[in-house]
Symmetry: C2
Subunit: 285 residues, 2 copies
């Protein structure tokens, strides 16, 4: 029995943000060789799946969304990908309301997109892919006829060289990323399954992105924690009811237990602390 | 015994272009469900590997480089990826001088790049990845310390919406892709393992790209054939000795045998015809 109503991807994401109220996206970038030795379960597949299940149990009531960087699994060959598939299957069966994002950056076009759908949605079990906008609308076109699966577009990322091309100044005074944000919000999201990512390490670009996309569209924020982004920079950018924004944290949560007596309590505490910090800023908004 | 001298990736590519003189990049986009039924070998893995081996035997003396769109394999799960891995292993063992390009568009950064290296180079056996420049230099940085493996950057692609952001006009009069071409040629290719891709469906952008990158750097050209690009548009753009350019053809070669009495002769003939058409244009350059 399917116990949940089919919703467009953005509605599912917004519904999760509204319900959990933590604004947390937990990044399950569970790189095998960083998982503590005492958690090893024999094979790479069993170790990564075991680790993920524990992280999920420690964070499932806090995570509005889980994001997996696919490279951290594919780097460990078939076993890594099997662990990823098992993780997503476990999540869909146990916590079907939580959307699952594939951080894959597979910016394909045309018939190749159907292959990405077979890989990311049908095989690995994701609800949404993340793409760069470099090739324009062709990258998202083939995703629009299936509004239950989503596409998140990197509008302005958090990495040091993100500004190299994204911040180039145009003849009309705008910057390149502003045109991208505008196209995503006003042209690409026609079926309610396209939304945007931006980095908190570029507060001005983040502010401008929210201004362009409006209050309704969910905004996934990267760059908090190890990358140096400050939660305070989110003030005023939370969108409708202050729940149209998800802050991603990967290493800062899933590896928070390293060196601690109770690994998964430390993981849970890291998630709670981040959610509280975000909420304090949201309350000032 | 390793029977070949270690060369930087660009040297290996240039050496192959100089030696074969066909300027052909054969795209092994061997989508399982498009392989004729009478070639089926039981499993997806065996069918795709069998098909690829026959294509390779029909084209190995003509192909300066092979390019595989990874999505066409990953779309068929573990079996597709195993067929890809077997294909690359067969190529390395049998024709080690031919560079192998992963058309994966995995534009990762930082430690994720090490995961892509493990996936694409160590596991699947590629010599080179293809990336979008959206995140700037961070996307290629981690590839530079290993000059035997390459990175091909999509400067201006061939798809209909490629112009949406790539052709935006900047304050200084240039277009976005021109800045990318300039950075790749003058800043990123410091160790001889970064080169560029551009589409023949945008002849002006292709011309400008060659002008910016100079005569030495190899240029991979997409968009000939089914996408509507004309070989004539390559005139004058072949670079040093007219052998610094490779034209990719995928479906136009590997599926040329459909409906023909001798499938792989038709494949070979399609490759020869394209090489001759290109050569005729090059001779006018």
């Amino acid at each position: 029995m399917i116990s949940y109503i089919m919703m467009t991807f953005n509605t599912k994401l917004v519904s999760s943000l509204d319900k959990k109220q933590t604004r947390l996206c937990v990044g399950l970038d569970s790189r095998y060789d960083k998982i503590p030795e005492d958690m090893r379960q024999g094979s790479i597949k069993d170790t990564v799946f075991y680790f993920n299940k524990q992280i999920i149990e420690a964070t499932q009531d806090l995570a509005c969304v889980y994001k997996m960087n696919v490279a951290f699994y594919a780097g460990f060959r078939e076993e890594g990908l099997e662990a990823l598939q098992l993780t997503n299957e476990f999540l869909h069966e146990t916590y079907p309301d939580i959307p699952l994002l594939a951080d894959c950056k597979n910016s394909e076009m045309g018939e190749s997109v159907n292959m990405i759908k077979q890989e990311m949605f049908d095989w690995l079990g994701f609800d949404c892919v993340m793409v760069t906008p470099w090739f324009g609308f062709d990258t998202v076109r083939e995703y629009l006829d299936d509004e239950y699966h989503g596409v998140c577009v990197y509008v302005h990322d958090s990495n040091p060289s993100a500004s190299e091309f994204q911040d180039l100044e145009l003849k009309d005074g705008r910057k390149v990323y502003e045109v991208v944000a505008d196209h995503v919000a006003k042209k690409w999201n026609m079926n309610g399954n396209v939304f945007v990512e931006a980095g908190v390490t570029y507060p001005d670009a983040l502010r401008k992105t929210r201004e362009i996309i409006g209050e309704e569209l969910p905004l996934l924020v990267a760059g908090v924690g190890p990358q140096g982004g400050k939660v305070e920079a989110l003030q005023g950018l939370f969108g409708k009811n202050t729940y149209r924004l998800a802050v991603n944290s990967s290493r800062g949560i899933i590896f928070a237990g390293i060196g601690k007596p109770d690994y998964f309590s430390a993981v849970r505490n890291a998630a709670i602390t981040l959610a509280q910090t975000i909420d304090a800023v949201a309350k000032q908004s």
